[in-house]
Every structure is written in C-alpha cells, then in structure tokens.
Symmetry: C2
Subunit: 324 residues, 2 copies
C-alpha cells in the first residue's frame, strides 16, 4: 500500500529539491555571484530543503565558457572552491543533458565530488542515451534521476515503454516534467498514477518538476504530493525559464513536516532576489506563456515575445495558431 499524506500529516519520504540555480540559471546565463550562491545554500540548509541543484554539467567543448557563469559547467573543483567544501545539512545535485555532457570524462567518482545526485534530462526519444548516462552515474556512486521532458507531447505507448526502460535501469528516481506548463491537474493526477505504478513495480521513487505557464505549477506539484510523489522541485520566487517554476515559498508553506522552515526562504526572497531582477533576468507569468502552454508548445516563442517587450497577445495567438 502506497503511503500518502493528508492535509494534517506528513510523509517523511518527501524530499524538496531547490532548482533555483539550475532552472533559474537559464534566465541569467548562470551568472550568480559567489556570495549569492553561498547565501542560497545557507537559506536552503536552514529551511530544511533536502537537495539543491547547482546547475548543469555541460560539456565545455560544446559551449563558449566566456558566455556563461560557471554553474552551467559545475566543475567539481569550482563548486568546492565557492562553497569552501561540501556543505552539511543538504545534498547537492547537478543536471546533465543528454548530448550536452561529456559524462565519461567529466563525471568522476562520488567520493571526490561535492555532488550526491545527478539528474539526467532527456527527451523521450533519447532514453537509451539517458540510461547509459544513468548507468555511469550509478556506477560512480551517485543517486541518479531520469527526468523525461516534454511528456505532454509523448504518445501513450512511448511513455509506457520509457517507464519500463527506466524501471529496469540503474536510476533511483523517475521525474514527471511538465516542460511546457500545459498539463491540467486532472491530467496530472492520471500521469502521476502511471508513474507511481511504474515506481511501485520497479522500486523507483517518483518526482515532479512543474512549470507555471498556466499558474498551475504549485497546484500540480501538491496534487502529485497527495498521490505519493516524493521528490518535489521548486525554485525561490519561481525563478526559471519562461513562466518559471513552482515557488519554493508556496511549497514550504504547504508541507506539514516541521523540518521545513519557510521564514529562511522569505528572508532570502527579500534580501537576495531583487539583485537577480536588477541584473535584468526575466521570468514569471505572462499571457504569452499561457498561450504556448494551452497549445502544448515549447515556450521558446513566448520567451522571445516577452524579451522583445511585445504585448500584442491576440496577434501572437494568431501566429501560434497558424503554425498548427
């Protein structure tokens, strides 16, 4: 019998993962100052957040390092330098994209690394490559998650095959990812049940990473939580690509485990998030994101729309419909 929670109880297996620097890094080219990073680690530790994802393990041969902050590459030695060692009271996570990470060269044994977990981000058609990466990370001693992106575009049959493949792999966690912010709660409950069934069959934990295109990121996250999903992604202030993510402040306000202490995130919000906005980073709900979300499209065109300062939403809606 799967353990679930009620509005007055909590499930100790729930883990909160702060993805502010990773998903948020997509809107400021991973340009976080060292002091800011240390302040976020401190806030997360005090708030009882379980994992903190620092960024991507991108292949420096594929990206111009002068164009991005170090958190796009997350070299172990850089992380250890900035943080002054491995922080206590929180586990560090790093994301690796299929095809953008030279994992055999860049992901070494866990005992020499600040990271406890690698999360492999994959589209459904690159699952075999993702599983090879997961296998490598598992062998190196890391907790390993596979995050299947853009599932709102996947066919039923494909998703079943994907869950079976990951089920039989070395991965510890399978993540539901609503990349386009297009999934309504009643659909999300059906998806979560499918993942949870696969999780029970193959002894994998399930996670949720939601986007806020339709102001449903928090709602979808807590619906999943009620059904038994254990790994919950959130970001401070919802910082993340396009419409952003589930807000950490909403999530910690909801969770009943007394280890979570919202006040530390509130303090960070006040003291450290204005700097990020002042630098010019943009995220958060805009009607353009609702349009790509409701049409189940990649948010790229909406991000350009917002970046260009456009507000002709009806015209943008027409443009999107003409591409159907």
């Amino acid at each position: 019998m799967r353990e679930t929670g009620t509005l007055l109880s909590f499930r100790p297996s729930i883990k909160v993962l702060d993805a502010t620097m990773r998903d948020g890094g997509l809107v400021n080219r991973f340009d976080f100052s060292d002091d800011w990073v240390r302040a976020l680690v401190r806030a997360n530790v005090r708030a009882g957040v379980d994992y903190m994802e620092l960024g991507y393990k991108s292949d420096p041969d594929l990206f111009d390092k002068s164009q991005f902050g170090m958190w796009k590459f997350c070299r172990d030695e850089d992380v250890l330098t900035v943080l002054g060692g491995v922080p206590e009271g929180i586990k560090l996570s790093c994301m690796a994209d299929v095809g953008r990470c030279n994992y055999e060269r860049d992901i070494g044994p866990r005992e020499n690394s600040p990271f406890s977990m690698y999360r492999i981000a994959t589209y459904i058609n690159t699952i075999p490559a993702a599983l090879a990466m997961a296998e490598h990370c598992h062998k190196m001693g890391y907790e390993t998650a596979v995050n299947i992106m853009a599932i709102s575009k996947a066919k039923e049959k494909e998703l079943s095959l994907a869950l079976d493949l990951i089920g039989n792999s070395a991965a510890d966690i399978i993540y539901i990812v609503d990349s386009y912010g297009s999934i309504y709660p009643e659909e999300m409950r059906v998806i979560a049940e499918r993942y949870l069934e696969a999780g029970e069959k193959y002894q994998k934990a399930i996670g949720i990473h939601a986007h806020n295109n339709q102001e449903l990121a928090f709602a979808n996250t807590i619906e999943c939580t009620a059904l038994g999903v254990d790994y919950l992604d959130a970001t401070v202030g919802g910082m993340g690509r396009g419409a952003g993510n589930c807000r950490m402040e909403l999530l910690l306000g909801f969770l009943k485990n007394p280890k979570y202490k919202l006040a530390h995130i509130l303090r960070f919000l006040q003291q450290c998030m204005p700097y990020i906005r002042e630098q010019g980073a943009k995220w958060g709900f805009d009607p353009a994101y609702l349009l790509t979300g409701m049409l189940n499209r990649h948010p790229g065109s909406a991000i350009r729309f917002v970046d260009e300062g456009r507000t002709d939403y009806a015209e943008f809606f027409n443009e999107l419909l003409e591409q159907e």
Copy 2:
C-alpha cells in the same frame, strides 16, 4: 445524475461571469472611465462571456460619493447612460453587500433595470439578512445568487445550516467564495461536493469565486468545474483585491465550449489593462498574500504591507504568527 465535463467535452450549463469591475474596483476605488467600461463590455460580448458584474449597489448614504467612482453605487440610470442602454449578448450583474445596501429603496423592478442578476455577498452569520435581500431581488424579477464569503473560517455545522437555509430560499445560485485564498484543491473538491449535493437537493446552481493568494485561483476554479460547478467567476488579468482572482484569460483558454473566444480578452488585455496599472492600481501575487492565505487570514494586513512597499516577508510572517 449530475452532468460533468471531460477535457474534450463541454457542459452547456457553464456560465462565465466577468467580475473585473466589481472585484477589480476594490483596487482602484471603482474609477473606470466610461470608454474603458464600454470597451470591456464589447470585449466580453465578443468573447462569449455570459455575465458581467459592473460593481456594487452600495448605499450612497453610507459612503462618500466623492471618494469613489460610480460603479460602487451602480445606479440603474448611470449604467444605462454610460452603456447607451442594455447591451445585447451579455447579462449584467450587480453585487449587494449585506448591511451596505438600501435594497428596498435602491433595487427596483427588473424591467426598469439594466441588471439581470443580483449577487448578495454575506458572511455566514448574516445569512438571514442575505436571504431577505435575495427574497426582495427575486420578487423584483432578478436572478439571485448568495455568495457566502470566508467559508474557510466557517465551522462544518454552520456551513450545513447555511446551505439548508439558502436551499430553502428564493436564491437561484449559491456561490463558493474562497475570500482568503486559503483553500487547497483537495479541500476545494470536498467543499464543491458539499455545495453540489445541496444544489441537487434544493435545485440550485453552484458557483465559484476564487482568490489567487497561493496561485490556486485558476486550479480551484477548474477543479470545481470538473465536478459540476456551473457559475465561474474570473477577471481580466486577474484584477481584484490583493492577490487578485482567477484570470479570465486562463479560464477561457481552458473551457472547451467554442462560444468562448479568448482572442477578444487578449486584445483587451493589451489595449486596456495597462491604463489601469498606470493609474496606480496594484494587484497580483506577492509572498505577503501567500502568508495570509496559508494562515487563513483576511488579506487586509497583506494589502497594507504591499501598499507600504514593504518586502520584509519574514518579519511580516512573525507579525502574523504573533497574532495567532
């Protein structure tokens, strides 16, 4: 058997009510220009919105008329003058607060009025007064709704008694109102089931009016819709007190009835909503609203916090906890 919808069907009994001027009027002292009002009526008619609530029927003996726009008072003759008669293709609604409306004097027969519906806003302890008002409005020929506010503070037993009282009254519609934006979707589903049971027993339609303190207004509205709630409140851009309301653009993007045409609301958003912000009206999500929402408090203190330009969320959280 109650009729519900699916993600690919629609229920013709669903009615969308635009409350932009009524709930939105609370953040700009009902100061809408005549041209702006006419543009919103046009947009709503074209978008297929069923009802439009223009404001309150407040007693001019209780409020200083020089401090508010005319939509706080909604005199029939003012409405007819501004709109040039009764608009076709949409029904007009007006809200009357218990204790703030001289209804026997100010609400006359429907045939002389631009309004089709009166909605009586009441706290649970003033239900008898609300029912007297509903009885009057019904006799005058109007559709009549009773909106029970702040139900998150009501006791189980009180709510049952309230539903029975309204069930036996002349009211046509009973509204669920999440005044504090404190209700989570899994709670909202339970509440909606209770209201819908009362609605079946007494042959009343059920409505939902949600607030966005925890970014759950849209989620709660569509959860209610899926269960059979028929009257759905929304406002353009979410304009409304504090964190605001369910956004009309999200709601019309979700509803499957082809009569609803989102593009007209998108155009209004672009052309007419910036003016309201430029006038200084403030609304929308802020961490302060999540705090009053999660603590099930009236948003008044959060509204002051935001108005004062405060961002010391952790301190505000302390202040709220000290009042527990």
